[in-house]
């Protein structure tokens, strides 16, 4: 037996016991490209498609619990999209309808691409990721799971089961730069969350480093300068400082998709715009573009 089609996690764990070298397969949108181009010839595959525990989502108190098998299309659907607008926006930028119907949140995490579009949103929401194996469960922060480009701390036989994030946390924005609107891998992407109750801004940068980066200094600066009572942004000088701190948090490289310089510039612009959009939407206004963010 070389292809396993477990319908439960227990069956998936049993498959791994039989075949410890087996490859996990979620939506296949990354995996099959490597197989088609003969970059990978797995001795065995455990398909997670039918595993019941990985499907759908549920509310648990103030959290949303997302099954790892949830697709981008499902994340964009109205009810869930209202609870997690940043994740819905990010999902809408992924590939095409065909890719969004197949690709899953768990697959995005497991692939651990620096450009994964859901990852900055999960980072900005301080998501908790539940992984499980026959030996039990672990709950991880994103940066404990993804430790390098395409590198995770998943152990042998360990499966990403679910992702836990707060429901409808403040205002959320996701922006992405690529060469066109559809079918594009991010050159840079940014997720920004404004937690009105907690009076904090969280900003995560993707595709500008080996893993997703939280721009902590920028977050701290802007959180201290916002007028939380009036819910207004500080002046252009403070916003320029915020943007500069975002840029300096990035650790981009030159590659076939873009240059380090452009990526650094792009995350600054995206973070600035995201912040502007959140406040503009919140206050029913539009933000003027300033000259330094051209």
């Amino acid at each position: 037996m070389l292809v396993f089609l477990p319908v439960s996690l227990e069956e998936a764990f049993d498959a791994f016991e039989q075949c410890p070298d087996a490859q996990l397969l979620a939506g296949g949108t990354d995996f099959m490209v490597e197989v088609n181009f003969a970059l990978r010839q797995p001795p065995a595959v455990v398909c997670l498609r039918k595993v019941e525990e990985l499907k759908g989502w549920r509310l648990d108190g103030a959290d949303v619990v997302l099954g790892a098998g949830i697709t981008y299309t499902e994340l964009m659907a109205p009810q869930l999209g209202d609870l997690l607008p940043g994740l819905a926006q990010a999902s809408r930028t992924v590939g095409s309808p065909q890719i969004r119907n197949a690709g899953t949140l768990g697959g995005n995490l497991g692939t651990a691409s620096p450009a994964g579009d859901s990852l900055p949103v999960l980072a900005a929401l301080d998501a908790k990721i539940v992984v499980a194996s026959k030996q039990g469960r672990r709950i991880l922060e994103l940066d404990d799971l993804i430790v390098g480009p395409k590198r995770t701390t998943l152990g042998p036989g360990e499966v990403i089961v679910e992702v836990r994030v707060p429901a409808a946390l403040g205002s959320q924005e996701f922006l992405k730069v690529g060469t066109r609107n559809a079918m594009v891998i991010a050159v840079a992407n940014v997720a920004l969350v404004v937690d009105w109750a907690g009076r904090s801004v969280r900003c995560a940068l993707g595709s500008v480093g080996p893993v997703v980066i939280r721009a902590r200094d920028a977050e701290e600066l802007i959180s201290s300068r916002i007028d939380w009572t009036g819910r207004t942004l500080p002046d252009d000088g403070d916003l320029a400082e915020f943007t500069a701190l975002v840029r300096s948090a990035a650790r981009p490289i030159d590659d076939h998709r873009s240059t380090a310089d452009y990526r650094r510039h792009a995350v600054g612009v995206c973070a600035y715009r995201a912040l502007g959009r959140v406040f503009a939407n919140h206050n029913g206004e539009t933000l003027e573009r300033t000259s330094w963010a051209n």
Binding site: L2, V3, L5, L25, G27, G28, T29, F31, M32, V33, V35, N36, F37, R40, Q41, P42, P43, A44, V45, C47, R49, K50, T73, G95, S96, P97, Q98, I99, N101, A102, N181, A182, M183
Partner: protein, 160 residues
């Protein structure tokens, strides 16, 4: 290449045997090379072009990115399954022909499946919705104008 495997797929309502297959074969490969269904086209093999689009359990996917052996138990519909018979055209295929939405024809099956999926779920899409629905299908001949006209024609025929 390792051991070969046997399994069954349900394609266009029929159970089909796949024998002596390599584990890593894509659904696209199996459809074309093993099951005699060459309507789904093989171009990019990385989900970029959409010319291999099929419906799997009612969801539009690129068959090049589906592990065939993992599709056991799923309902698969290819472009061949959208018309009543081999010599018939679906209303969408007819609209593509009538409106000049077919030039070299390579991308057409993928577009037809995507548009079929769109109009099943959203019978009256706006032009923007149509554009987003076919954003995963590439055409290098038409410039898309005639394809959008074909979708509109199919929409109008269904509405009438």
């Amino acid at each position: 290449m390792g051991e070969l495997i046997d399994y069954q797929l349900r394609v266009n309502g029929r159970e089909r045997d796949v024998a002596d297959a390599w584990l890593g074969e894509s659904l696209l490969y199996v459809l074309r090379e093993r099951l005699g269904l060459p309507g789904s086209k093989n171009a990019c093999e990385q989900g970029e072009c959409g010319s291999c689009s099929v419906l799997m359990d009612g969801k539009l996917v690129c068959s090049c990115m589906v592990l065939a052996a993992g599709a056991v138990g799923c309902d698969i519909v290819t472009v061949e399954g959208l018309s009543a018979g081999e010599d018939d055209l679906s209303d969408i295929q007819a609209a593509f022909l009538a409106e000049g939405g077919v030039q070299c024809g390579f991308c057409t099956p993928g577009f037809v499946v995507s548009v079929h999926d769109l109009l099943e779920h959203n019978p009256d899409p706006t032009e923007l919705e149509v554009r987003e629905a076919v954003s995963g299908n590439l055409c290098r001949c038409t410039g898309y104008g005639r394809i959008l006209a074909a979708v509109q024609a199919a929409q109008e025929t269904r509405r009438a």
